[in-house]
């Protein structure tokens, strides 16, 4: 008793982090000790699972049936603009479309943007996917205005009624973190079949960035401007629409730009359910035949669209002199003349028959074959090494992963004891040198590695998450996290969630290190950034499905392939934000450092890096969200876990399972998001930013 008292007394003198880590360690140790007598600590007993997915399914089905007539009416109304857009884009001869885009490019950004538009659309033409591309564009053309209106209304509401603001923020988070695959089934039931489903899904996905930017823009309007509007006696509506929104217009245009990009990426994902012969459908068809070259070609069409739309709408956000309108008419005139001549002489080629790029696609395909043939052996050993010494121990723990087949010997109890002893000693050493939290964390991490993420006892996970949330942001986050994780436990999705957590956790960890290093190199050398940037752009805009073929060809179906596919997508924000943070150090700080004679390396370590931490943490946050998003796509190459459940539910039209698993995924993503943001906020405060 007195010994315990003596141990606890100094506990309260420790920092918050150390206290939390200490308590977590105790809970973990208790779980490990009690494991033999109480197996329910490790595995949540099936008897305790509530049939929540069925309830969700039944409740939702009833609700969906109730509002179905209304949704069908909406769907019928939406099919009109959809048909018009389709007719306008597919009915216009292709030289006219190219001419229009080139002319718009000239008007917005001069010669370089006109060239971009012309070359981009010419590529689309020769790829042989013109009709499908126009179908995709028609979808985007209808869904983006919807998203802009919807997002704009949400943003204005949040600005006008401060009470609903936090609720709206949460709604936006949910809209962005619930995987699209999860809500495709309800949309399908509600709105019926055809392009409207993809249209609605992409509008839902594209609205949040718009809403966020409207909010931010309205918040940032100068108080003097607002006061001037009030003093000149305008009503609230006049103030809003005639003064505040125009002065926030450049931020709002950033929102429009983001909205366009989001809609474009979602239109492709929605193609999984089929219903429209668009470019996403083509990507899926080619993927189904394992034709990498063709899939890449179709994917590049999307990349081209994304770049053209991004640059053009991006220049809308910057207020600038527009270019000479006479050139616009000249370009349109030339296009019209060309069309007329071609039509008159009946020699306008049908874009379907243009397959100039096919040899290129075949060459790409062939090079993938050659690559797999020549490098298969050593890449196999890379994969085995990563699986045996990295992923497997992380998933099922050293105690199960160390086998004669893998490491050459069997894991014994003595080894566990030895490992814990070593970790304990190292922890003590750290604690003795004054880094108590680090010492405790080391022991906890060793324990997790010994047990494996997929087999962690649930009380330990709940407690650990609560402790992390408490340290990151306070009691509220701790409580909310535990409650939300509790619902996952009760719904019986716990094991799948841990598997998802393990796979995305491993990917995030790898992305953080590799992406951080690449970001650092790009910050130091502008030349490296010139080379890396287009790759980043491409990885972010190409349909995610395209990655899957080459990864599978080389590494086969399995976790390692899924891991790589997730990394390829999730590494981008880490690179971007790390570089951005390191480059944007305040100038006066740098001058002070230079004048006090610091070397380049010292400046990087002591000035640039500390200032970059909030930005890097933001990048990490985005990386986590991207990893969760990609987890669902990776289900196409056979992962286990939540992603697979969501994909399965889509195939079975099982609304309950889809929405429950989607919600579990959103819960995991949102908890990690809040925690990283909590730590980032703390760093920012410490730096006085």
């Amino acid at each position: 008793m007195s010994a315990a008292g003596a141990a606890i007394a100094p506990l309260w003198r420790l920092s918050m982090g150390a206290r939390a880590a200490f308590l977590t360690l105790i809970v973990g140790a208790l779980c490990l000790m009690l494991e033999p007598v109480a197996p329910w600590l490790i595995k949540w007993p099936t008897g305790w699972v509530l049939p929540a997915t069925d309830w969700v399914g039944a409740g939702l089905s009833w609700f969906l049936d109730a509002i179905k007539p209304f949704a069908r009416a909406c769907s019928a109304m939406l099919s009109y603009p959809m048909d018009w857009a389709n007719m306008a884009l597919n009915g216009t001869p292709w030289p006219m479309v190219i001419g229009l885009v080139t002319a718009t490019g000239w008007y917005l950004g001069g010669l370089s943007m006109a060239a971009l538009g012309f070359l981009g659309l010419s590529f689309v033409l020769v790829s042989g996917y013109w009709f499908q591309s126009m179908n995709t564009l028609a979808l985007v053309a209808v869904s983006v205005p919807l998203a802009i209106i919807f997002g704009g209304i949400l943003g204005i509401l949040a600005n006008e009624i401060p009470r609903v603001k936090s609720a709206l923020q949460t709604l936006l988070d949910v809209m962005q973190t619930v995987p699209t695959f999860a809500y495709l089934t309800p949309i399908l039931i509600l709105f019926g079949f055809g392009p409207v489903v993809g249209l609605i899904a992409s509008a839902i996905y594209a609205a949040p960035p718009m809403a966020r930017n409207v909010m931010l823009g309205l918040e940032r309007v100068e108080p003097e401007i607002k006061e001037a509007a009030i003093m000149s006696g305008g009503t609230r509506l006049q103030q809003l629409f005639q003064v505040e929104i125009p002065s926030a217009s450049s931020q709002i245009m950033v929102g429009v730009n983001q909205c366009l990009m989001a809609a474009l990426s979602m239109v492709i994902i929605a193609a999984v359910i089929g219903g429209f012969n668009d470019i996403g459908w083509e990507v899926l068809l080619t993927m189904r035949k394992a034709q990498f070259g063709q899939a890449l070609l179709a994917g590049m069409v999307i990349v081209v669209f994304a770049i053209v739309i991004d640059r053009m709408s991006g220049s809308l956000a910057i207020e600038r002199q527009r270019h000479d309108i006479r050139i616009v008419w000249a370009v349109l005139g030339i296009a019209g003349l060309f069309t007329a001549l071609a039509l008159l002489s009946n020699s306008l080629p049908n874009p379907d028959d243009l397959t100039l790029m096919n040899p290129v696609a075949q060459a790409v395909d062939q090079s993938l074959t050659d690559f797999t043939k020549t490098n298969g052996a050593w890449l196999d050993s890379v994969k085995n090494t990563a699986m045996f010494y990295g992923l497997l121990p992380l998933r099922i723990g050293l105690d199960n992963a160390v086998l004669p087949f893998t490491w050459g010997f069997s894991w014994t109890m003595a080894m566990s004891a030895g490992l814990f002893a070593c970790a304990g000693l190292a922890g003590l050493l750290l604690a003795w040198r004054g880094r108590v939290t680090a010492g405790l964390m080391l022991v906890i991490l060793m324990g997790m590695l010994e047990t494996g993420i997929a087999e962690l006892p649930w009380p330990f996970v709940l407690f650990g998450v609560a402790a992390l949330g408490w340290v990151a942001s306070g009691r509220r986050l701790a409580l909310i996290s535990v409650l939300l994780l509790g619902t996952i436990l009760l719904a019986g999705l716990w094991e799948r969630s841990l598997l998802s957590l393990y796979l995305s956790g491993a990917a995030v960890f790898a992305c953080a290190i590799v992406g951080g290093v690449i970001g650092l190199v790009c910050a130091v050398s502008p030349l490296a950034w010139k080379a890396v940037r287009p790759v980043c752009d491409m990885l972010q805009t190409i349909p995610l499905f395209v990655f899957l073929i080459p990864v599978l060809m080389v590494f086969q179906i399995g976790e390692f392939s899924a891991f790589l596919a997730i990394c390829a997508y999730a590494i981008v924000p880490m690179i971007r934000y790390t570089r951005h943070g390191l480059v944007e150090t305040p100038g006066d700080m740098l001058e002070a450092a230079v004048s006090s004679g610091a070397t380049g390396w010292q400046i990087l370590r002591d000035i640039r890096f500390p200032y970059a931490v909030p930005s890097i943490l933001l990048g990490l946050n985005q990386t986590i969200l991207y990893a969760f998003a990609m987890l669902v796509i990776a289900a196409l190459i056979g992962t286990t876990g939540l992603g697979q459940s969501i994909y399965l539910a889509l195939g079975k039209a099982d609304v309950g399972l889809g929405i429950s698993a989607g919600a579990a995924m959103a819960i995991l993503a949102m908890i990690s998001d809040r925690m990283v943001q909590g730590f980032a906020e703390e760093r920012r405060r410490a730096l006085g930013l």
Binding site: L184, T185, L188, I189, G192, F193, G194, V272, I273, G274, G275, F276, N277, W281, L284, L285, M287, R288, K289, A290, T369, T372, K373, G376, K383, N384, M387, F388, L392, L403, F405, T406, L548, I549, L552, M553, V554, Q556, I557, G558, E559, F560, A635, L636, I637, G638, T639, Q644, Y647, L648, L650, G651, K652, A653, D654
Partner: protein, 317 residues
């Protein structure tokens, strides 16, 4: 003689299509689902051409195989010409029970499913296609995910787990890994063929990849219903599923309102059949020779009128 008969039939067809009493709402287009694979495109375009010959207007609608049943139940798609019992969505049975979807009978394609391997694997594991050969060379199929067992690529999880059932049925030291999607299955076949690496996979025919990658089936003992219910049946007394795959049915389905709205079309689609011998060459002409489905099917229709004309004629008379 034969030609005269055909000519008579054709004249009859033209003569009767004018009456159109049984055709129903022939001014409204009948929408047929076009799914993700070439074989289905062939089956659908043949059916569409038959409907057009009967005087209907046909529209082909792009539709995801797994998610089209809601649309059929809503009457937004009217017919799906090639549904495989081995990987039909659970939603199909639900929609049939609810009354929105009706089955239109067998398509007549003779399908085979089984445990398969690309031909070069026989060199790696001598003794194939005998089942027992797998027992001895399981470790040659092992990968980092499955060690110490061999690896079998199973169907995507939403198609069921026939591979895993066979492995436990025959008590073979293989771990079944679900493929995730058909694309992943094909990519595995392609990679194994190009790298000459070992591969065991659950696969089916008719499929274009069967010939493209020279895929062979492992010999499995022919089973009956008892095999799937009674563990005592077969070589393994402790497990069910120690036999070959139950033959997969390939059938057609349609909107339940079709019989009333387009009676003749309903009859044509119900009686329509297509054999592997007919479908396979057309698939090859599209996938291997790069032809367009519409043209390939139109050519076949012209040459094989005896095959399909009687069904159309019977329905509209």
């Amino acid at each position: 003689m034969f030609r005269t008969l055909l000519a008579t039939l054709a004249t009859c067809a033209m003569a009767t299509s004018v009456q159109a009493a049984d055709l129903g709402a022939k001014d409204e287009p009948i929408k047929l689902a076009v799914n993700e694979w070439t074989g289905q495109h062939v089956s659908t375009y043949v059916a569409g051409a038959m409907l057009e010959a009967a005087g209907y207007d046909v529209e082909y609608v792009t539709a995801g195989y797994m998610n089209m049943y809601q649309a059929i139940a809503d009457g937004e798609i009217h017919g799906a010409m090639e549904i495989w019992s081995s990987n039909v969505s659970e939603d199909y049975a639900k929609k049939v029970d609810a009354g929105g979807v009706v089955e239109l009978g067998d398509l007549g394609l003779d399908a085979k499913e089984g445990i398969a391997y690309p031909a070069h694997v026989a060199e790696i594991c001598p003794g194939l296609p005998a089942l027992d050969a797998l027992r001895d060379c399981a470790m040659k199929f092992a990968t980092a995910d499955t060690i110490p067992q061999g690896r079998l690529i199973d169907y995507p999880a939403d198609w069921g787990t026939p591979g895993a059932d066979r492995m436990s049925g025959f008590d073979l030291p293989f771990k079944a890994v679900p493929a995730g999607s058909e694309g992943a299955l094909i990519t595995e076949l392609r990679a194994a063929t190009e790298k000459k690496s070992p591969l065991l996979i659950v696969f089916w025919q008719p499929h274009w990849a069967m010939s493209a990658y020279d895929v062979k089936f492992v010999d499995l003992p022919v089973g009956n219903d008892e095999c799937f219910e009674d563990p005592k049946w077969g070589s393994n007394p402790d497990a069910t599923h120690d036999c070959d795959f139950a033959p997969s049915r390939i059938f057609k389905a349609g909107w339940s309102g079709m019989e009333e709205k387009w009676p003749a079309a309903f009859e044509i689609l119900s009686n329509y059949t297509l054999s592997v011998e007919d479908q396979q060459p057309m698939m090859g002409a599209v996938d291997v020779d790069g032809g367009k489905v519409e043209e390939v099917v139109a050519a076949w229709m012209k040459e094989n009128e005896a095959n399909w004309k009687p069904i159309v004629t019977a329905a509209i008379q």
